[in-house]
């Protein structure tokens, strides 16, 4: 009798019945995605919160085959979710975003996404997502054969070779081996004992705390560069663990370290920026000293870069959000009761943790973990270091993240490891309230006490490394500097997606010419733009006028009444803004929409002439110096507006028949100007 997998029928008709978890904070997209997926005959679960998604995933590791997640979410960064899912549940994750910036896509890849889709999502793309599930499973059956293969893949991954494919390779192999083990494995590996290699149901593997601790200790012992799966396996001396499992885990671990390094460099720079010298920074042992960071942790520039190995608890999850205040608030409150629970050094630990919280207020979420732990480190050294360390060790039951024991040759990695022990502590404390969350935790190296002591020196030595600035960090630092002085040419040459861009260009150019010495070229180019716009508007006018009767009648009778009275077009914003936008034209109401674009746009265009009440404060200042340039356009605008006002009257009364006339007049004005 064949072993039948425990699954419902739809699964047998794969990819029909593929179980997808969709996560997106935008309800429109989520609803749309859900329907698309249903149309593909997948079994869909949706949630708009990453935290809920994690909860669902953790509840039952075998409940889903695939996760689709948006990148930008308020409660947790999509990349972080991606990492967590990859680490804990080893499910394929597809990222989704409206932003197709290659940097983001790259980030998705490095965090282990199997795919990166752009919104709007098309059903054709979704029809193919099952391939990611298959891909992972496929390597299941191939895994036990070639250790050579493993190594090759391993190095390939190191070179950034098609991340998704090889990543799933290892995962697949890991899973397969896991499957072979029994449920009485004391390492608490998750199994599905009814599994059989050819089934679609793949056991989800968890590297338990114990196991990970051993792993890390082994890696530490060997040295990160020399740690090969075989040796690690031997050192770990765990039954039923295979080389392939270790290899896969090692790969993930390396990725983690790499990310940690870049984060650490950020921290180093921050430390330098904030603390002057690293030693003084480190020596801010006193709590008061650290409290001072309160002032430094303003809202500030804050990038929500992914923090790997963030523990699953929702509480900690929030630490990743840009809200420094949030960070301060939540963990402290979360930690205090926990702190009290532990007698030995509860106050110290709790304080330490609140420091952790405070400090990174103006750093990345990553830095949150790093910086304070550095401080903590020093603190421990200063104060009762040993006690705390002991506490750390004992506190570590269930932690998450990839803490590494120290002593690694590379100073940067040393920093990473210094961060981790304390990470873990915090995580542990936080997680005590949520043992469930802990399940996905990683172990912590036994060498922690040793590492803490030894790392301090390493840490201080590596802190001065300012050379490497993380992209995000530098952007963060610079983004507050307003780049207001890009050359005239730039705005002129911007690709025009839409005629609105043209207007932007013109206006911007007008502004720019105000800043630059006035010359013929700028005026000329402006006029050329104007001509383009006029052509565009002409085009648009014709479109509009062809429907003006219909539109405007409709509008006149219905829309504006509604606007005025009820909420059927609840956007008062809309109404007020459009009103606002046409300050000089009293008769906005009955105009209807056909005409509106015209008014609107001309106002927009020439507002920079300083005429508009709307943009007043901004424009007036800018235009102070360039009256001559602006006067021309100003006059024209005034002329235009006068003309507009007149026709509007007739527009209303004459049943909009003169729309074309108006447009023609306007266009003529433009042409005259040029």
């Amino acid at each position: 009798m064949t072993i039948e997998p425990i699954m419902d029928d739809p699964r047998d008709q794969f990819p029909i019945g593929l179980r997808v978890l969709a996560v997106d904070d935008d309800p429109t997209c989520l609803f749309f995605l859900e329907n698309l997926l249903r149309r593909c005959q997948y079994h869909v679960t949706t949630t708009n919160q990453a935290i809920t998604a994690l909860k669902l995933l953790r509840e039952n590791k075998n409940k889903f085959d695939l996760v689709i997640s948006d990148v930008h979410m308020p409660d947790m960064d999509g990349f972080k979710l991606l990492e967590l899912v990859g680490l804990e549940m080893d499910l394929p994750v597809i990222m989704l975003s409206a932003n197709g910036d290659p940097k983001l896509v790259m980030k998705g890849i490095t965090h282990g996404a199997c795919d990166y889709l752009l919104k709007p999502v098309r059903i054709e793309e979704l029809k193919n997502i099952w391939q990611h599930v298959i891909r992972r499973k496929k390597f299941d059956s191939k895994d036990s054969n070639n250790s050579a293969n493993q190594d090759k893949l391993h190095s390939a991954i190191g070179e950034g070779d098609s991340g998704a494919g090889s990543h799933s390779d290892h995962d697949g192999k890991l899973n397969k081996k896991r499957k072979d083990q029994n449920e009485d494995d004391d390492e608490e590996h998750e199994e599905n004992e009814n599994d059989d290699p050819s089934t679609q149901k793949k056991p989800r593997v968890v590297w338990s705390v114990e196991l990970h601790r051993k792993f890390v200790a082994a890696v530490h012992q060997l040295g990160i560069d020399k740690a090969v799966p075989k040796k690690i396996l031997d050192l770990m001396n765990v039954e039923k663990l295979t080389r392939e499992n270790v290899a896969s885990h090692l790969q993930k671990y390396r990725l983690y370290l790499k990310r940690l390094n870049s984060m650490v460099n950020q921290q180093a720079n921050m430390a330098a920026a904030l603390g002057g010298t690293d030693s003084s920074y480190l020596r801010m042992g006193s709590l008061n000293g650290i409290e001072n960071f309160h002032t430094l942790t303003g809202p500030g520039q804050f990038h929500n870069t992914t923090f790997r190995s963030l523990p699953p608890s929702g509480l900690l999850g929030r630490l990743n959000t840009p809200a420094g205040l949030g960070m301060r608030g939540l963990p402290s409150s979360g930690l205090t009761p926990l702190g009290h629970a532990r007698n030995e050094s509860s106050s110290t630990v709790a304080q330490v943790h609140s420091q952790q919280v405070i400090l990174p207020g103006n750093h990345n979420g990553n830095v949150l973990q790093g910086m304070p732990t550095a401080l903590e480190l020093d603190q421990l050294q200063h104060v009762k270091g040993i006690i705390n360390v002991r506490d750390l060790s004992s506190a570590i039951d269930n932690t998450t993240g990839f803490p590494v024991s120290g002593g690694l040759p590379d100073a940067k990695i040393a920093i990473a490891s210094s961060i981790n022990p304390l990470d873990v502590t915090k995580n542990t404390l936080m997680l005590e309230q949520n043992p469930r969350a802990v399940q996905g935790g990683k172990g912590y190296g036994n060498g922690s006490s040793v590492s803490v002591a030894s790392l301090n020196s390493e840490f201080s030595s590596s802190l001065p490394d300012h050379s490497r600035l993380n992209d995000n960090w530098s952007t963060a630092a610079q983004s507050s500097v307003i780049h207001d002085s890009f050359p005239l040419n730039d705005c002129f040459k911007q690709p025009t997606l839409h005629h609105s861009n043209l207007r932007d260009n013109v206006s911007t150019m007008a502004l720019r010419s105000g800043n630059n010495p006035l010359d013929v070229s700028s005026v000329t180019s402006m006029s050329t733009e104007v001509q383009d716009i006029s052509t565009d508007m002409r085009r648009r006018a014709s479109l509009v006028s062809s429907n003006s009767r219909q539109i405007n009648n409709h509008a006149a009778t219905q829309r504006w009444d509604d606007h005025n009275q009820h909420g059927s077009y609840p956007s008062n914003v809309m109404y007020s803004s459009t009103n606002y936008m046409i300050p000089l034209n009293g008769a906005v109401g009955p105009l209807g929409q056909g005409f509106e674009p015209m008014n609107f746009h001309t106002d927009v265009d020439f507002n920079s002439a300083g005429q508009s009440n709307y943009f007043d404060p901004l424009y007036m200042n800018r235009n102070e110096g360039n009256q001559s340039a602006m006067d021309m356009s100003l006059k024209q605008k005034q002329g235009l507006l006068k003309d507009q006002r007149k026709p509007q009257g007739s527009y209303i009364s004459s049943n909009f028949g003169s729309l074309e006339d108006i447009v023609g007049a306007m266009v003529k004005q433009y042409v005259d100007y040029t």
């Binding site: 904070d25 935008d26 309800p27 429109t28 997209c29 609803f31 749309f32 329907n35 149309r39 948006d70 930008h72 975003s97 409206a98 932003n99 919104k119 709007p120 999502v121 098309r122 059903i123 804050f302 840009p322 983004s479 307003i482 780049h483 890009f486 911007q494 997606l497 839409h498 609105s500 861009n501 207007r503 932007d504 206006s507 911007t508 502004l511 479109l543 429907n547 409709h554 509008a555 829309r559 059927s568 077009y569 609840p570 956007s571 914003v573 809309m574 803004s577 459009t578 936008m581 929409q593 509106e596 674009p597 609107f600 746009h601 927009v604 920079s608 943009f615 901004l618 424009y619 800018r622």
Partner: protein, 144 residues
């Protein structure tokens, strides 16, 4: 295809993504399009309000936050097939990335305008459709 819809396609207000929406509407989800569009309207108004709130702040500097709202708006608009709205969002995003407040304000104006137009037209579309359904006395999927 109904006249209003044809117009909207012609004007570039909607694109083929909207057709995808329509294709998802069937017997099992007979009101899909209007449901999705209503969600979109609801969310968009919130977003627009937020954007305006941000930009009219005296000490506005949080381009990042604005970028987040904008990103969501862009995502939902493109999912609906609101091409013009989405294009304005792109321009808006460009202005925002350059920290060009004035440009952002302009783009916001345009955005509000385009959104308003879209909303009105879609409402009109739904009304026409409803009337048609009522007249026919039977429910059937929206005609393309």
């Amino acid at each position: 295809m109904n006249r209003v819809l044809a117009l909207l396609f012609h004007q570039g207000v909607l694109d083929e993504q909207f057709l995808q929406l329509q294709q998802l509407q069937d017997e099992s989800s007979p009101n899909f399009v209007s449901e999705v569009v209503n969600i979109y309207f609801h969310e968009s108004e919130k977003l627009l309000k937020n954007l305006r709130g941000l930009l009219t702040e005296r000490e506005f500097s949080d381009y990042k936050k604005m970028g987040i709202h904008l990103n969501q708006f862009m995502g939902s608009s493109s999912s609906i097939g609101a091409k013009r709205v989405r294009n304005v969002c792109v321009a808006f995003r460009a202005a925002s990335e350059q920290n060009n407040r004035a440009g952002c304000l302009r783009a916001l104006e345009l955005l509000e305008h385009e959104y308003c137009y879209l909303k009105n037209k879609l409402h009109e579309l739904f009304q026409i459709e409803q009337q048609r359904v009522l007249a026919a006395g039977v429910r059937y999927p929206m005609q393309r």
